[in-house]
Every structure is written in C-alpha cells, then in structure tokens.
C-alpha cells in the first residue's frame, strides 16, 4: 500500500509537470498580444513595450518557461490580464464558492446514483427498474445549460419557490452580510450564527446544485446497475448462493462490494465533469465562482487566468482520480 501511494504520488507530480508545461506552451501560442491585452485599448506603442518588459514577455521562450516553472512552485501564477490581480489570489477567493456547489452536487449524485442503481438492479426487469431506466436516460441526455434554464423557468417563474440567481438576497447582503472566514458561505454563516443568511444562502443553492448533480447521478446510477448485474452473474455468487447465504446478504454484501470499484472510478471522473458544468451553471445562475471566472477569462482571452484555471481543474481531476484509486483498493482487495 505504501509503495502504491509513493508511486501514485510520483506519478501525480510528473503529470502536473507535464500539464503545466503543456499549458505554458499552449498559452504562448494563443493569438493576440498579451501585453496589449494587459494595457487595454488605445495604448501607445511605448506603453505596450513597457508592459511587455514588465510581464517578461521580451525574454526568449526558454527563459520565460524557466521563470514560469520557478514561480509556479511558489504558487505564483502571474497577474491576470483582465482583473490585474494575482491569478492565484483570484482563484483562492473563487474556489470555495464553487466547491460549495461542486461538493454538494458530488455528494448527492454519488448517494442517489448508487441508491438508484442498486434499487434498479435489485428489482431487475420490474416496473421500478423501467422507471429508473427512463429517468436516468433522461438525466444523462439533457444538456446542462438547458436543464439550468428549465429549472429557472419552472421553479422561479411559474412556481416561485426558489430565487432566480445570485448567492444571497440583496437586502440581506446589507442587513446580515456574510463574513469571509472559510469562503464557504454556508459554513461561514453557520459559524457566525447568522441563521437568516444561512437559510437564504441554502435556498439560493438549491437550483444550481440540482442542475449540477442530475447528469452525474444518471451516469453513476446506470453504471452501478450494470456493474452490479455483472457481478451477480459471477460463479462465486452462485457458489455463495448454493451454500445457503440469504439473498439480501448476497446482494448487498457480496455483490455491492465487488461492484463498487468501477463506480468509484466514475465518481472520481464526475468531479471534473461537475467542475466543467459550473462554467454553465454559474453563468446562468450568476454565481460568482470559478466557473464564472473561467468563462470571463475564455471570453477575454486572459491567458494567465486561463493558465491558472486549466492547471487548477487538471490538478483537481488528477487528485480526485488518485483518491478514488486508493478507495478502490480499500474496497476491492483484488486490485493489485
């Protein structure tokens, strides 16, 4: 296990180095002059030249690359061309807001996905199975932006149950402001005992989280069902059944445990899926997180911010997969 962890750790570092190198050369080959973008429109040539020296863009590519990697070790990703603030600081500010949505969505998707998958497999071929099949097919087929708009239209416009967008009602923002402690608005309001804001913030999160969890939930449910049915066909289940173990124990202990390993992999993959989905959900629900920031960076070709965002998503993806690999080895000791 220790050897495996070491190996994974080395692999992780190697992958991150490859990723940051790729990102560096990718952003340097983007169209457009970064110095001109940094200064803004109507700049004199000498101003652009000064900005170029300030950003270090006048040096050869190799020198730039060395400097970039050296800074990256100190968590310095450069200055955003759009907000003119350090990218790392921007990211650190936005990440908690998005991760609040992402973690909720991941948790709900994993919990309900696995539950629905197990129920469908247990009642294989019945009406319940058919209903879940239709439901999950719809869940994986609906485009995320369409789902988000539908939710707004239905639950805000027609029913009026949930707020349209934003993190908190604007009048509460003045009377009961959120103190910035951890950056997670639900945790912050709870710690500060600001219950009015807590309920308001939770209320605002319902629709975005729903838009985020539906797709991954469908994927996880479908995979859980098929994986479980595969396992229940195995000879060792037949042998266990022949030795008189009750059907329930057989299904939930012997079956589920063996079926979980591919499911864990997909749960790891859905972290990235949900993170990318925040681009759309945060734009539609006007949520000031990492997705909103990334989208603004894409639209304005803010290459330092793009670099930071790509690195961050890549890192999260790789780390999530590593965690899931470790969990898989705990759940399923056959994996070597």
């Amino acid at each position: 296990m220790l050897l495996f962890l070491c190996k994974r750790f080395v692999g992780l570092i190697a992958l991150l180095i490859v990723l940051s190198t790729l990102v560096f050369f990718f952003t340097r080959s983007l169209p457009g002059d970064a110095a001109a973008l940094y200064i803004g429109g109507n700049a004199k040539p000498e101003q652009i030249e000064r900005a170029r020296i300030e950003l270090g863009l006048d040096k050869p590519l190799v020198v730039q690359y060395k400097r970039y990697m050296g800074r990256l070790i100190h968590a310095d990703m450069g200055i955003s061309l759009r907000t003119h603030r350090p990218v790392f600081k921007d990211l650190m500010e936005k990440i908690p807001m998005s991760f609040e949505l992402v973690l909720w969505a991941l948790f709900i998707a994993a919990f309900f996905g696995v539950s629905f998958g197990v129920i469908a497999a247990y009642f294989q071929g019945s009406m319940i199975d058919e209903t879940i099949k239709w439901f999950t097919s719809a869940a994986v087929s609906i485009p995320i932006f369409f789902l988000a708009l539908l939710l707004q239209l239905f639950f805000f416009n027609y029913l009026g149950w949930f707020p349209l967008q934003g993190r908190i009602d604007s009048f509460l923002e003045f009377s009961n402001p959120i103190q910035n402690i951890t950056g997670f608005s639900m945790v912050d309001t709870l710690i500060a005992g600001n219950f009015k804001a807590f309920f308001n913030v939770s209320w605002h999160m319902v629709l975005p989280v729903t838009a985020l969890f539906v797709g991954p939930m469908g994927i996880i449910a479908r995979l859980t069902r098929s994986s479980l049915l595969d396992v229940m066909d195995q000879d060792y289940i037949l042998a266990a059944r022949a030795s008189g173990i009750s059907e329930g124990v057989l299904f939930f202990y012997y079956g589920l445990r063996n079926a979980l390993s591919p499911v864990l992999t997909v749960i790891g993959l859905s972290v990235a899926l949900i993170l990318l989905a925040t681009f759309y959900v945060e734009m539609i629900f006007n949520w000031p997180g990492i997705g909103y920031y990334s989208l603004a960076a894409i639209m304005s070709l803010d290459y330092t911010a793009l670099m930071g965002v790509t690195l961050m998503i890549g890192t999260v993806y790789v780390i999530a997969n590593t965690i899931m690999d470790i969990l898989r080895r705990i759940v399923d000791p056959r994996i070597k």
Partner: protein, 304 residues
Amino acid sequence: MKENPMAMQTDSYDIMAQKVIQEHRKVKWFQLRRLLKRKAAFLSLIILVLALVAVLFAPWIAPYPEQGQGAVNLEHRLQAPSPSYFLGTDVYGRDMLSRVIWGGRISLFGGVCIVFFAALIGVPLGLWAGYNEGISGAVISRVVELFLSFPSTLIAMAISILIGAGWFTAIIALIIPWWPWYTRLVQGEVLSIKQTLYVEAAQMLGYGKLYIIFRHLLPNIMTPVLVMILLDLGPAIIAIGLLSFIGLGTQPPMADWGLMVWEGAPNILSEWWISIVPGCAMFMVVIAFNIFGDALKDIFDSKG
C-alpha cells in the same frame, strides 16, 4: 459422363456453407425484429428518422428556409407560437421551426463527423497498439493515457480557443480528445482476442501482421465499436452545443442548437420558446440516440 467426385464434394460443401450463411442471416433479422419490438427503441428510431428527414430535406420542409439560414425578419420579433409561426419567432423575428431544422443540420452533422473521425483515427491505432507490444504500441498507449488523464471537454475548449472559434474548428477541437477513447476500447478487445487459437493459428501459418489485423482482429471488434459509436452520438451533439453555448463553436448568423439556446437565454422568463424549442430538440435527439444505442447493446451482449 463420369461425375467428378471431387466436384461433388465441393458442391456439397458449398450447399452447407450457403445454409450456414442463411442461418446466420436469420439470426441477424431475428435480432433486428427483437430490437423493434421494444417500444422505447422503436419510438427512438422514429424520432431519429424524423430528425434525419427534416435535416436532410431542410430547404423543402422548413417553412421559411432563408430565415432558417439567418435572414432577419424584424417586423415579427419575439412572437409567441401561432399558426403562421408554428414555434414562435426569435429576437430577430426568425421563425423558430425553420431555425431548429437548420440548426439540426449543424448539430447532427457535427455529431456524426466527430464520432466518425474519432473512430477512424482511434480504431486503427488501437488495433496496432493492441497487437504490437513494441515501442510503437507503447508510444500510442502513453499518448492515449495522457489524453485520458485530463477532462476531454477542457481539452476541446483549450484547442478551440487556440485555433479560433467556428463550427468547423469546434468539430476538430472535439475529435482531438475523442479518439483516444476508441483506441483504449479497441486495444483492450484486441488484447483478449490475441490469445485465441485462430489468431495463433494464423501466426503459425506465417500471415503478415496487417493481414491478421484486418482479416481476424477487425471483424471481431466491430460490434463493440459500433455500439460505442451509436452511444457516442448523443454526447457528441451535446459537446458541440456546449462549445457553441460559450461562443467557441458555431458563429452567428449560423446556429446550432447550443447557440440557439444561448441566444434565447436572456429572454427565458418572457419569451421562453426561443431557448426551450432548440433545447427540447437537442434533448429528444440525444435521448433517442441513447435509448436506441442501449437497446442495441443489450441485444448484442445477450448473444442470441
């Protein structure tokens, strides 16, 4: 005349072979009939055929073909669905029905293109990498792993920023992270087929690598590849929509379904049909592809 016994022999072999082939065909037809007996699969097929017909014959089916291609019609802006504008009109007064049909051309064509070229690149590489354990196979495996260790949509977004926005570049940007999935699938299949007796026999007989790959390996991996192609069409259509929605794909006045949803998003609370109509079209086609693909997979998996 004296009969040639050898000729008779081959004759009877021929008849036997014919019978086997007929039997085989019967099974295939039987499988197809079973597919159509499933209500959901049948319904999906109808939706797909309808969409295909509408898209192929767009100039004759769309009520206002020139508006479908982007011509503005400002005196009829933002009209609710009515007999003359069956699905309403958008911000520029264009008939939504015509727009959705023309948008479907880009979405469907793009989806088919992505999956087709991804398979075209990925399958041969997978065959080669699975059959050869030398350096070339290892290189292909590493490249595939590198691609699969980052989210595909993110790679596609990055590439389409790099090479510029547009429907054609969006398709290319999506093919690049898409093919490794086929390579991995095929490579896995080949690794198990390689152990079988008939491949070993072919190796013993001294057939060349390429002959074995195309004669023995390719036919045996076609079923999983075809199922994957069918199941990938839906996600491919969504993927183009995702790029177009954030301005990296199709550019106005052309529009695919994703861009049309984006165009309607600011007016969603009042003129809901501008977003909902293309969104529904996308949803229905994608779910039809998924259900049809699932049914096909079930039937191929259960083997008779």
